[in-house]
C-alpha cells in the first residue's frame, strides 16, 4: 500500500480537506511534515495542499518555497518520489522551481470560487491514468492567483512534451490562464501542480466524485 505525506505550513488551510481525501480514498491517514522539518519520512507520495501559506504575502507561495521542508521535498522529487501541489501547493512548487512558469493574479483581479470543467490533456501520467484521454470532468476552483503564465519558449516546450496535464474546458477558464492551462507536470513526470481542488469533489456530500480518480491514480488504487 502506498504511503503518503502532507506538507504543513502556517497559513495553509486546505490541509484538513487534503488529509481527509487521502484518508478516505486510501483508507490510511498520511503522515505530515512541518515547515521546519529538514527530512521527510520515506513515502511514495508527497502532497502540498492549498491555502495561503505565510498569508501569500510577497508573492503566492514565495516564502513557503524557501522553508526547509521544501528543500526536503525537492530532494525527494529528484529521487523520483511523486509530488503533487494543489492551488497554493502549485504556487509553491513554481516558486521552488520544480515546475515551469508562474501564476499571476486572476484576469478578473477577483478571488473566484466556482465549479469549472477540466479536460484531461494528458491521460498518460501517474496522476491521470485513471481518467480517459480527453475526458472532461467537473472540478471546483477557489483562488485569487491562478492565471498561468510562461514565456513563449517554455510554453511551446511544455506543450510539446505533454507536460500540460489539465486544461479548463468548454469556456470555463476562470482566471485567464494561457492555453487554458489548469495543471502542469515536470519533464520527468513525477511532479504535478494544479489549481483546481479535486479533494473537494470526492464523495456524495460534495455533489459528485470526479476528483476521486486523480487520487486513485496517484495512490495506485485501480479504478
Amino acid at each position: 500500500m502506498i504511503k503518503s505525506a502532507v506538507v504543513l505550513l502556517p497559513g495553509l488551510n486546505r490541509d484538513r480537506d487534503m488529509i481527509a481525501a487521502l484518508t478516505k480514498i486510501s483508507g490510511k491517514a498520511p503522515v505530515t511534515a512541518w515547515q521546519t522539518d529538514t527530512d521527510i519520512p520515506d513515502v511514495d507520495l508527497i502532497v502540498i495542499p492549498g491555502g495561503f501559506s505565510y498569508g501569500d504575502y510577497l508573492r503566492c507561495g514565495a516564502i513557503a518555497a524557501r522553508m526547509p521542508v521544501m528543500r526536503a521535498v525537492a530532494e525527494k522529487a529528484a529521487k523520483g518520489v511523486t509530488v503533487m501541489g494543489v492551488c497554493n501547493g502549485f504556487q509553491i512548487l513554481l516558486e521552488t522551481g520544480l515546475l515551469p512558469g508562474a501564476l499571476m493574479r486572476n484576469a478578473s483581479l477577483k478571488f473566484v470560487c466556482r465549479e469549472v470543467k477540466l479536460e484531461i490533456a494528458n491521460a498518460n501520467t501517474t496522476f491521470t491514468r485513471a481518467y480517459r484521454p480527453g475526458q472532461v470532468i467537473r472540478c471546483p476552483v477557489a483562488h485569487h492567483d491562478g492565471n498561468y503564465f510562461a514565456d513563449p519558449e517554455t510554453l511551446a516546450r511544455i506543450e510539446g512534451n505533454g507536460q500540460v496535464v489539465f486544461r479548463y474546458a468548454e469556456g470555463t477558464n476562470p482566471n485567464g490562464s494561457l492555453n487554458d492551462i489548469a495543471g502542469v507536470m515536470n519533464e520527468a513526470g513525477n511532479v504535478l501542480g494544479l489549481m483546481p481542488h479535486p479533494e473537494n469533489l470526492i464523495e456524495a456530500a460534495h455533489g459528485g466524485s470526479d476528483g476521486r480518480a486523480l487520487f486513485e491514480g496517484v495512490l495506485g488504487i485501480a479504478a
Binding site: 504575502y57 510577497l58 516564502i63 524557501r66 522553508m67
Partner: protein, 80 residues
C-alpha cells in the same frame, strides 16, 4: 510620450502584514541585521503628450482617485 513612476507606500503606523512576513522570512533565510521592512507598490505609466505640468496634475488626480488608498497610503510621483 511621458514616462512616470508612481510609488505608493503605507502611512506610518499602519500595520503592514506583508512587510512583517518578509522580515520573518529574511531572518529564516539567515540574513541578519534586517530591521523594519515595509512593502509598497510602484506603477510605471506612459502618458501621451509632452506637457509635464499637465502630466503631473493628471497623475496626482489618478493617485487620489484610484492608484492610492489615501486613507492608509501616501504616494509620490516622479517623471522619468
Amino acid at each position: 510620450m511621458i514616462k512616470a513612476r508612481v510609488t505608493v507606500t503605507l502611512k506610518n503606523g499602519v500595520l503592514d502584514p506583508q512587510g512583517k512576513a518578509i522580515e520573518g522570512a529574511l531572518g529564516t533565510l539567515g540574513f541578519g541585521g534586517v530591521g523594519h521592512v515595509r512593502q509598497g507598490k510602484v506603477f510605471d505609466i506612459e502618458l501621451d503628450g509632452s506637457d509635464k505640468a499637465k502630466a503631473e496634475a493628471d497623475l496626482k488626480a489618478m493617485c487620489e482617485k484610484l492608484l492610492a488608498n489615501t486613507v492608509i497610503e501616501n504616494y509620490a510621483i516622479s517623471l522619468t
